[in-house]
Structure formats: C-alpha cells, structure tokens
C-alpha cells in the first residue's frame, strides 16, 4: 500500500509536469491520451533533473532533486495557470467504454500488470544496467554525486558508464522516493504509451480493430520483455514513435506547434539513446519534401528543419559530448568509436542482410517478434496488390519504417561496437510501433472499420 501511494504521488507529479508541456505547445488531446502523454513527458523531464544538477555541481540529494523537479513543474505550468484563469475548465467528461473493447483491454491490462509487478519485485538484472547505470545510481544516492566512486573502479570491461544519464537519474529519483528497486517509472511510461497508442489507433480504426492490433503489438516477446527489463530501448522506441506521430500530424496540419513538439520528443529520444540522432537526420528529406509539396517558402522551411535538428542535436551534445568528455574522469569520444574505413560499404550490406535474415524473419524472428513482422509484410503486400496505392498517412509511416530499417545497419556500419545480437536487435524495437501505424493506416483496415461501424449503427 505504501508503495502504491508513493507511485501515485510520483505519477501525479509526472502528469502535472507533462501537462504543463502539453499546454506550452498547445497540444490538444482527449483526456486519456492526454494523461498518458503527460506522464511520459513528466518522466522524461524528471530523467534530466539529477543530470542537470550534476552539470552545475549541485549535490544530488533528495531535497535538491525533488525541490528542482517541483520548481520545474511549477515553471512549466505558468501558462496552464494563466490559461485556467482566462478559460476556466469545463469538467464535463464523457467516459464511454463499449463491451467489445473489453476483451483486448483486459488481456493487455493483465500482461501489463504482471510486467509492472516484476518491475517492482525484482532488482535490475540486465548486464547493461548492472555494469553502468545501476551501480552509478546506487552510489549516487550514497555519495550525492553522479560522478562517484564507481568511476574509481576498473571500468575496462564495460562502456555502459558512458550511456545516457537518463536511466541513472530515474533510478536515483525512485530510490529517493523509497522504492527498494527503483524501476517503477518504467511501468508508468509503458502504461502511458499503451493508452496513447490505443487512442491514436482509434482515430481512424474501429475500437475492436485497435484493440486487436494492440494485442498483436504486445505479443512481441522481445518488446514485451523490455516492459520490465529496465533499459533505454523501450523508452527510446516510444519517444521516436511519438516524435514521428507529431511530425506526420504536422505534415497534414502545418501547425508549427506540432512540429516543435515533435522536435522536443525527438530531443528526448536522442537524450535516451544518442545514436537516434542519425535516424532523425535521415527523416529530414521527408520534412523538406513535405514543405515543397505544400508550396511553403523553402528558405523558411530549411530554417525550421535546421532548428528541429539543432534541438535534437542538443540531446546528443549534452550527455555524449559535454558530460562524457568534460565531466567524467575518463571520456569517450564519438570519433574513437567510429569505423575508420568508411569507404568500405560491405559491413553495411552485411548488417542489413544479417538483420533481415537472422533477426527479423529468420531463426530468431519468431522468438523475438512472434508474427508481427509477417503481419506487417502481409498488410503491405495486400495493400499494394488490392489497393495499388498507399494512403498518404500510411506512406509516411512506411517511410519511417524504412528509415529505421536502413538506419540500424547504417549505425552498425558507422560504429562497429554496435553488435547485431545486442544493440541492433534492441534497436529493432523502434520499428514495431511504426509498422503498427502503417498497418493501422492501410485502406484495408480503414474500410473494414467503416464497414463495422455501419453494421453496428444499422
């Protein structure tokens, strides 16, 4: 009970923080996806607090961390408060849950519950967590510094101390909050993500189909495992998806607030995993094309895209260049990890081939993703054969899928340390929600949804 109360308190704090950001960007959403997205944003803001304190050499104590977090939440909500004064909220809230939504919801809730319990009950277990973020967080709580005695041990067997402070920060916050094992932020993020996904899917699809698609999504063993294995990849996947979601909304609405909100989400995605910057940069031709198609002033569009990329680049520069090289005792330059023979493209094609044949569709494919990849191929083929033309939104999601599909082997080629069975495999999590939204925007499912709606209303 004690832990439930603490969790409720932290979830509320995250929600208020995120609510402020959503208001700052004038992002309009229905109540439930708003709550889901606000909690995710709140967690991300929290994940930067001990790191920012460390950058200005303020001790990482419970008072400093929570004080700063609360102050930040207040600052981010100034606009919310002024808006509330101008337009008092109308608390009319219509909750309509139909019987047919329940089966998929109950199944997903069950699976998320057991995953959340494992997060609560067990300590961190993964090697990547144990050989970097976890000891750094544990000693940060004792020594009030992220740069603590762990860095005086021999770290030659690992490079996990150089990974984003995102995980360390959240482990510190949740340890200070009183959890024995501090991974409970992950279930909050996962639940928020599922709520958002369900509502985003239901924008165009009938809720029965949304529920079934979401069930297919949760039935990907590798992605599900990372709902309780506390690492970077699940969060990175969620943020990259959300970034694309708002970017593609911007392609339709041309509302700059959505463009920069997407930049913020992508910034967080890069903060969590720095190599994501390469994938985002690969999306810039799509941004340019969208501006050209809508006959926008190209000079202005280029400036906005540059600003977008700059925002994302800060997410890379802060932890990977400034913190690692100027703050940590022994730095790690990106150049030192780069492939020295960039003229030889063979490793790129080799990785592309291995990723496709070994990880996605080969022997490990079904173990990792169950039938999700096959389902995607089936929908893609069906759409091309029967409809012969892709819906605009579906086309955007397909571009995003291609960016990750080409981008992951490209990263493996740029950085030989990126191994096939670890980093590339986990990187493939990023492709899943993009595939999901491609399927959700196929004419086949949209027409089927319309037919079900008509039949239901008849």
């Amino acid at each position: 009970m004690k832990y439930l109360l603490i969790l409720a308190g932290l979830a509320t704090l995250h929600f208020i923080t995120g609510y402020g950001i959503l208001n700052l960007f004038r992002i309009r959403l229905k109540l439930f996806p708003r709550i889901g997205l606000a909690v995710i944003l709140g967690i991300l803001v929290a994940s930067m607090v001990p790191f920012l304190l460390q950058l200005i050499y303020i001790p990482i104590t419970a008072g400093n961390v929570f004080g700063t977090l609360i102050a930040l939440t207040g600052l981010l909500n100034i606009r919310s408060v002024t808006d509330l004064k101008k337009h008092p909220p109308q608390w009319t809230f219509k909750f309509r849950l139909r019987l047919y939504e329940l089966p998929a919801m109950l199944l997903i809730s069950f699976m998320l519950f057991v995953s959340a319990w494992r997060c609560f009950y067990y300590p961190q277990y993964t090697r990547d967590g144990m050989s970097g973020p976890e000891p750094i967080a544990a000693y940060a709580v004792r020594e009030h510094s992220l740069i603590n005695s762990v860095f005086r041990t021999n770290l030659e067997s690992t490079n996990n101390q150089f990974k984003s402070p995102f995980l360390v920060d959240l482990q510190v916050i949740y340890t200070y909050a009183g959890f024995p094992f501090a991974s409970m932020w992950l279930p909050l993020l996962v639940i928020g993500f599922y709520i958002f996904l369900y509502h985003a899917l239901s924008e165009r699809l009938h809720p029965v189909i949304s529920g079934l698609l979401l069930a297919c999504f949760i039935f990907t063993p590798e992605a599900y495992a990372y709902t309780f294995l506390c690492l970077f990849d699940y969060t990175n996947m969620a943020l990259l998806f959300l970034g694309f979601y708002y970017l593609f909304r911007f392609f339709r609405t041309r509302q700059l607030n959505e463009f920069y909100f997407s930049a913020l989400l992508m910034f967080f995605a890069v903060f969590v995993r720095s190599e994501t910057l390469v994938l985002i940069a690969m999306a810039s031709p799509a941004m340019l094309y969208s501006a050209w198609r809508t006959k926008e002033n190209m000079a202005k569009a280029v400036l906005h895209i540059a600003a977008f990329l700059l925002i994302c680049a800060i997410g890379y520069l802060l932890p990977a260049e400034i913190y690692n090289n100027l703050y940590l005792p022994k730095g790690l330059t990106t150049e030192s990890m780069m492939n020295s023979d960039l003229g030889n493209l063979q490793p790129f094609f080799q990785r592309l081939s291995d990723m496709t044949t070994l990880l996605m569709f080969g022997g490990s494919g079904k173990t990792l993703w169950a039938y999700f990849m096959q389902l995607f191929i089936l929908f893609l083929a069906a759409e091309l054969i029967f409809k012969r033309k892709l819906d605009k939104v579906a086309r955007n999601w397909l571009i995003a899928v291609l960016i990750v599909y080409i981008g992951l082997p490209f990263l493996g080629y740029l950085f030989p340390l990126i191994t096939l069975y670890d980093t590339t495999k986990r990187g493939l999590l990023k492709i899943l929600p993009l595939m999901l939204f491609f399927m959700a925007n196929t004419q086949l499912l949209i027409r089927l949804s319309e037919k079900i709606r008509k039949w239901e209303e008849a």
């Binding site: 089966p103 762990v150 041990t153 030659e156 024995p180 029965v208 069930a215 297919c216 209303e457």
Partner: protein, 166 residues
C-alpha cells in the same frame, strides 16, 4: 427497449464474441501459445511473491543467484579481517568456470555487490592488486594478500592461458 437499441446491443455482443474468439486463437497460435504460457506463469509468480515475506536482501539473492552470495561472503571476509581498501585480483572467468562452474561478475558489478574494488588479470592497473581471490575445486574460496610484484607476476603467468570473459 426499441428495435434499434436491441440491434445495437446484439451487434456489440457479436463484436465482443468475435474479439474474444480472435484473441483466443491468436494467443494459442504456434509460438504465441508457448510464450503466453510463460506470461501466465508470471501471474502464478505474482500470487506467490505477493504472499511471500521475503526481505529485499533475500529477493536480491534469489535474482542475482550464487555469484551475489559469494560476493557477500567476500565482503564479510574482508570486513572480518579488517583489510582496508583492498584491490582484489579476480581469476579469469574461463578458469573459474572450469574450477567451480560459475562466472564471477566483472569488476564494476563486483564493486556494486561488495563495495570492494577489483581488477581482471588483463587490466591496465593490475600491478596495483593487493589481494587475490581464488577458487578451488569443491567450491572453497581463498582471499590471500599478494606479497610482492614477483608473486603477482607468477599469478599472472599462471592465468595467461585463460582468457578473460564476461
């Protein structure tokens, strides 16, 4: 209740039934069945763990297994002998695995478990090692001080054929 409402209710019931049927078939199809059984076993774990009175420390021991328990006994051994700031030389895992069938954690995890600094035989600061942790067949463990640089060199020569590994 008018006919339209009844129709709607019937169509909702039909959709519910279809949804249940699809989910049932999907969760029992091929690989999904085996995997979903694993997830349902997590529910059994939950019920057991919810009723359990295991302490945080006992949960750590369960999760991290024998190596964590060994690390705890090393910490106790060092504390009981009042050894201050040791730097412990760890045997290569290929050797430990051959001797007692387990692997020891890498130095940073060893520090997390014990609060004691350690080095591998191939570490750049191996010459600073003050103690050596050795396992013998049968599972006995010894922590000895390293008397001289020559003795350290003898140890390193002995472990040379055994590559270090996670």
């Amino acid at each position: 209740m008018n006919a339209v409402k009844i129709n709607r209710l019937l169509s909702q019931a039909a959709l519910t039934f279809i949804s249940v049927a699809i989910l049932f078939i999907f969760s029992h199809a091929g690989k999904n069945k085996e995997w979903f059984q694993k997830i349902t076993s997590y529910w059994e774990d939950y019920k057991e763990q919810r009723a359990s009175t295991a302490s945080t420390e006992e949960i750590r021991e369960e999760r991290w297994g024998l190596t964590y328990q060994i690390c705890k006994s090393i910490r106790k051994n060092i504390a009981d002998r009042h050894i201050k700031n040791p730097l412990i030389l760890l045997e290569p895992n290929s050797y430990v695995e051959k001797t007692i069938g387990i692997k020891m954690p890498e130095p940073v995890v060893f520090y997390y478990f014990t609060g004691l600094r350690a080095v591998w035989t191939n570490a750049s600061n191996v010459n600073e090692a003050t103690h050596i942790l050795r396992f013998q067949k049968g599972g006995t463990m010894r922590i000895d001080s390293i008397a001289s640089p020559e003795q350290l060199q003898q140890f390193l020569n002995f472990y040379k054929p055994y590559p270090q590994a996670l």
